[in-house]
C-alpha cells in the first residue's frame, strides 16, 4: 500500500511543482527565454504574503489575494527593465541578466528578512492540518487536494484564456511570429509585459504553496527554479499541459525515490530530468541552427 500512497503523495507534490513551473513555461512559450530568477520571484511572493500576514493577521490565502496586484506590477517592471533589452540581445544575455537578478533578489531578501527560515503553514488555517485516513496505508491531506485542484484550475483557466479570448489569441500569435503580429496591429512589447505579469503572479501562487507546504528562506529560490525547469523539460518545452504532466511526473519520481532512501528523492527527480533531456535534445547533428539561419536569410530579403 505504501507504493500507492507514495504515488498519490507524488501527484500532490507534482501539482505544486506544476504551479511553480507554470510561469516559467508561459515565459518560455511566449518569449523563448528561461528566467533564471523565476524561483526567487516565487520566494519573493511568499515573503510578501508573509509580511501581509504578519501585519494584518489575515489568512495566507487572503494575504495572497492582496499580494497579487503587487506581483503583477513587479512583473510589468521586470519585463520593461531587464527582459525587454535582453530579448533582443542573443541567446545568452537573458540567462546572464536573470542570473544576476536572482542574486540581487536573494540578497535583498536576506537584508530585509535575515537568513532564518519562515513558513506560512500556521496562517493557512485548517487546510494544512486536516487529512483523511482512507485505508491503513493511504492518507489524503486537505492541502494536497487544494493544491491539486488549484493547479488544474490554473491550467484550465489558462487554456480557456489562450483558446477562447482575443487576448489569448493575441498572445499565441505573438509567441508564434511577433513580426507578423506587429503587422496586424499587435504591440508585442505590451504582450510580453502581460505574459510576464501572468507568469510572476502564478509564480507567487507557487511561493504561497511553498510557504504553506514547507518552509522557505531568502536562498530557497534556486532549488525551486531547478524543480520548475525540470517539470517544464519533462513535460515538453513550450507546451502548457505538458508542464502540468511534467510537474506530476517529477513529483511521483521524487516520492518513489524517497522510498529507496530519503536523500534519494531529489536525486530520482534529477535523473528523470537528465534522461528526458538527453532523449529529447540529445539526438542528431546540430542542424537546427542552420535551418533557422536559412529561413532567416530568406525573409530578410
Amino acid at each position: 500500500m505504501t507504493l500507492v500512497n507514495a504515488v498519490l503523495q507524488g501527484i500532490f507534490l507534482g501539482a505544486f511543482y506544476a504551479v511553480l513551473a507554470c510561469g516559467l513555461s508561459i515565459m518560455f512559450g511566449v518569449m523563448r527565454i528561461i528566467n533564471l530568477a523565476h524561483g526567487d520571484v516565487a520566494v519573493l511572493g511568499a515573503y510578501i504574503v508573509f509580511v501581509i500576514v504578519e501585519h494584518t493577521g489575515v489568512s495566507a490565502f487572503v494575504a495572497f489575494a492582496a499580494a497579487l496586484p503587487v506581483m503583477v506590477v513587479l512583473g510589468y517592471i521586470l519585463q520593461l527593465t531587464v527582459l525587454e533589452r535582453s530579448l533582443k540581445a542573443g541567446i545568452l544575455t537573458p540567462l546572464l541578466a536573470t542570473f544576476g537578478l536572482s542574486i540581487v533578489i536573494q540578497n535583498l531578501l536576506q537584508l530585509t528578512f535575515s537568513p532564518d527560515v519562515h513558513s506560512l503553514g500556521g496562517s493557512a488555517g485548517v487546510v494544512t492540518t486536516s487529512s483523511w485516513q482512507v485505508t491503513s496505508g493511504l492518507s489524503v491531506s486537505a492541502l494536497g487536494i487544494v493544491v491539486l485542484a488549484v493547479a488544474v484550475l490554473v491550467f484550465g483557466a489558462l487554456q480557456v484564456f489562450l483558446s477562447r479570448t482575443r487576448a489569448g489569441w493575441v498572445m499565441r500569435a505573438t509567441a508564434e511570429d511577433a513580426d507578423a503580429a506587429e503587422l496586424v496591429g499587435i504591440d508585442s512589447r505590451s504582450v510580453y509585459a502581460r505574459a510576464t505579469a501572468i507568469a510572476v503572479a502564478i509564480a507567487a501562487l507557487g511561493g504561497l504553496f511553498l510557504g504553506i507546504r514547507s518552509v522557505f528562506d531568502p536562498v530557497s529560490g534556486p532549488t525551486q527554479l531547478i524543480f520548475a525547469f525540470e517539470a517544464v523539460v519533462i513535460g515538453g518545452m513550450g507546451s502548457l499541459w505538458g508542464t502540468l504532466f511534467g510537474g506530476i511526473a517529477l513529483g511521483v519520481a521524487q516520492t518513489l525515490g524517497a522510498q529507496v532512501h530519503p536523500q534519494f528523492a531529489v536525486m530520482a527527480g534529477h535523473l528523470l530530468f537528465l534522461a528526458v533531456l538527453i532523449v529529447r535534445f540529445g539526438g542528431g547533428r546540430a542542424v537546427l541552427p542552420g535551418v533557422r539561419r536559412a529561413l532567416l536569410l530568406r525573409t530578410a530579403r
Partner: protein, 242 residues
C-alpha cells in the same frame, strides 16, 4: 560518368514544413568546370548550396564527392575534403583581423600549419585585394570588403570545389570584371566553381554551363546563351501571366 564529376547532387529533396524547397534536384560539377545558377527568389538556390556544403542535411537523395557518398559528412568534414563556400550575407569573424579570418580557412579546412599557412593566406589576400586590410578587425569592414573576405577565406582552404552565393551583387563594372577574372583564374587552376548570381551578364562571361531553378526544381540547363533565351527561364523570372 559520375567519377568524372568532382561534386554531384543526386535526386536531392528538402522540405521546410509544408514547403518543398528542393524537389528532386540532380546536378553534377566536373573538374575545373564553372556552372552558374539563376532563378527567382525562393527557388531553393541557397538551400541547394547549403545541402552541397553540408550545413544542411537533405531529407532524401545523395551528395557525392569524386564518386564517394558524403551525404552523412558535416560541413567541417566536407570542407576538409575540399568543398568551400561563401555566404549570401557575409559572416566575418568580427573579433578577429582579416588575416586571422583567412587563417581559419587555411589551418582548419586547408590543414596547413605555420609558415605554409601564412603563405597561403598572404597569397589569397593579395589575390582578393585585401592585403592592405590584413591587420584590421573584420568588424570594421564595408560590405564589399566583407564579400571579398568571404571569397578569400574560402580560397584559403585551397578547395577543389568552390560554392559562391551571390558574391557579385553591388559591384562596380571594374570590380565585377576583376571578380570574373579571379573566377576564370580559378577554373584554369582546376577548381570547380558553382556560382549563384542574379546579375546574369556577369555570370555569362565566365560560366561554361547555366542552370535555372524554380520552385525547388531545375527547369533549364545548358549553354548560357541558350538557357537565358529559353521561354521557361524568362517565365520563371517574369511570370507566365496567363
Amino acid at each position: 560518368m559520375s567519377e568524372a564529376a568532382v561534386l554531384a547532387a543526386v535526386d536531392v529533396r528538402k522540405r521546410f514544413g509544408a514547403l518543398a524547397v528542393l524537389d528532386g534536384v540532380d546536378l553534377t560539377l566536373k573538374h575545373g568546370e564553372a556552372v552558374g545558377i539563376v532563378g527567382p527568389n525562393g527557388a531553393g538556390k541557397t538551400t541547394l548550396l547549403s545541402v552541397l556544403s553540408g550545413s544542411l542535411a537533405p531529407d532524401a537523395g545523395r551528395i557525392e564527392f569524386r564518386g564517394r557518398d558524403v551525404t552523412e559528412k558535416g560541413a567541417a568534414d566536407r570542407c576538409k575534403l575540399g568543398i568551400a563556400r561563401t555566404h549570401q550575407v557575409p559572416r566575418p569573424f568580427v573579433g578577429m583581423t582579416v588575416f586571422e579570418n583567412v587563417l581559419v580557412g587555411a589551418t582548419a579546412g586547408g590543414r596547413r600549419r605555420g609558415a605554409d599557412a601564412y603563405n597561403v593566406c598572404l597569397q589569397v589576400l593579395d589575390q582578393c585585394g585585401l592585403t592592405h586590410l590584413a591587420n584590421r578587425r573584420a568588424e570594421g569592414l564595408g560590405l564589399l570588403q566583407r564579400k571579398r573576405l568571404e571569397l578569400a577565406r574560402a580560397l584559403a582552404v585551397e578547395p577543389s570545389v568552390l560554392l559562391l552565393d551571390e558574391i557579385g551583387g553591388g559591384l562596380t563594372d571594374a570590380e565585377s570584371a576583376a571578380l570574373v577574372e579571379t573566377v576564370a583564374g580559378l577554373r584554369a587552376g582546376g577548381i570547380a566553381v558553382l556560382w549563384i548570381e542574379h546579375i546574369v551578364h556577369v555570370l555569362m562571361q565566365v560560366v561554361g554551363r547555366l542552370v535555372c531553378m524554380d520552385a525547388g526544381r531545375i527547369i533549364a540547363e545548358g549553354a548560357p546563351e541558350m538557357v537565358v533565351s529559353q521561354a521557361a527561364v524568362i517565365d520563371a523570372y517574369l511570370g507566365t501571366g496567363a
